[in-house]
Symmetry: none
């Protein structure tokens, strides 16, 4: 475990045993993080999988997805580490005796070994099956223009005359279509929309914070 020794937080003392237990149980492939939700900082961390330590900013957007929920538990949802590892994560809001949120617990489980094991077992002596031939959308540029074009048609006015809301709507659609997971997509979209790169980023930011006003 790594702790900020200078400030022995009572919350850490309170929850440390559970965290430690979970960390031990799930072995080297699970990281347990205790967050200070208010300050967006790491309170303590067990089996860290990245370089984060107590006191660091929380990062990783572990607290982003806490949309209202009846129970204080979220997930499991998928996260992707920079080095490519796939994580399954669950989060829980921890409340003090007064019922007020006091910390957030996150458990991040590295799925890679499981995935590998599953693939291994599934492949063991398996019949040489036809490959799951699966192509991506080859020309995503085409797709962008298609979407923009379709939108323009429904609004009945050319790209240059699209208003702010219109552009937001197109961008939302493009985003839903996953266009922005593709490399170099933003400049292409900007051009297709007849807007600048800056504007696209600005609109994108606005979209994000409309759907998740924090």
């Amino acid at each position: 475990m790594e702790l900020d020794e200078s400030t022995p937080d009572p919350r850490v003392r309170l929850w440390s045993p559970v965290c430690q237990a979970v960390a031990l149980l799930l072995g080297p492939y699970a990281e347990v993080v205790l967050h200070d939700a208010g300050r967006d900082r790491v309170l303590a961390i067990w089996n860290p999988m990245t370089r984060r330590a107590a006191g660091d900013p929380s990062l990783l957007g572990e607290l982003d997805r806490l949309e209202p929920s009846a129970h204080d538990v979220y997930g499991p949802y998928e996260k992707l580490l920079a080095d490519g590892r796939r994580l399954s994560s669950v989060s829980a809001v921890l409340r003090g005796p007064d019922g007020e949120p006091s910390a957030v617990l996150c458990v991040n489980l590295d799925r890679t070994p499981l995935d590998r094991a599953a693939a291994l077992l599934a492949g063991f002596a398996a019949p040489t099956a036809p490959r799951p031939e699966a192509l991506f959308e080859q020309d995503w540029t085409e797709r962008v223009h298609q979407i923009v074009g379709g939108f323009v048609r429904t609004r009945g006015r050319p790209v240059e005359r699209l208003g702010r809301e219109d552009r937001l709507a197109v961008l939302a659609e493009l985003d839903r279509a996953g266009v922005f997971t593709v490399r170099r997509a933003v400049p292409v979209v900007a051009t297709a929309l007849g807007a600048s790169r800056s504007t696209v980023y600005a609109l994108l930011a606005e979209l994000k914070d409309r759907s998740d006003p924090r």
Copy 2:
């Protein structure tokens, strides 16, 4: 083992040790059958999964699929038992000292437990509702694992034992699938392949200059 004791066939004495070894190795989920190809009868059987015994007709069409082949080994192919169990089967033509076919060996492996285990592992802590919706290609990470997994299956060896050529082939396939147009794809692929980022780039470069030696 069940043998037709009344006719101690020399072929059985000859092949029995191998058969027994295989039967022991693959435990209770594999059946080993020695056929008299000419007479279409069972010569001997280890760990029988059905009621067949030595002397019974071969049934099951185990000898049907022996289309001409350079090597005398066939499969693995899939068979289905009456009770629904999925089998992976391999057959081999066994030849005597004179080079003439003398018997046919079949190993039938019950895949059900493996399939179950694979499903279990794959589902362990799996995200219930992964990331956002997407029309384009929502979980390309999944796709990467599928492609790699499928490939592993055709080669019949786990990821860590793939040779250089194998890896090149997987990468070629991933590339054809357009995986590398996606942001942050390389680290993910590297992890899935159990290789380093450096290696993936190196192999990718080699692929490129094989197809375009300039």
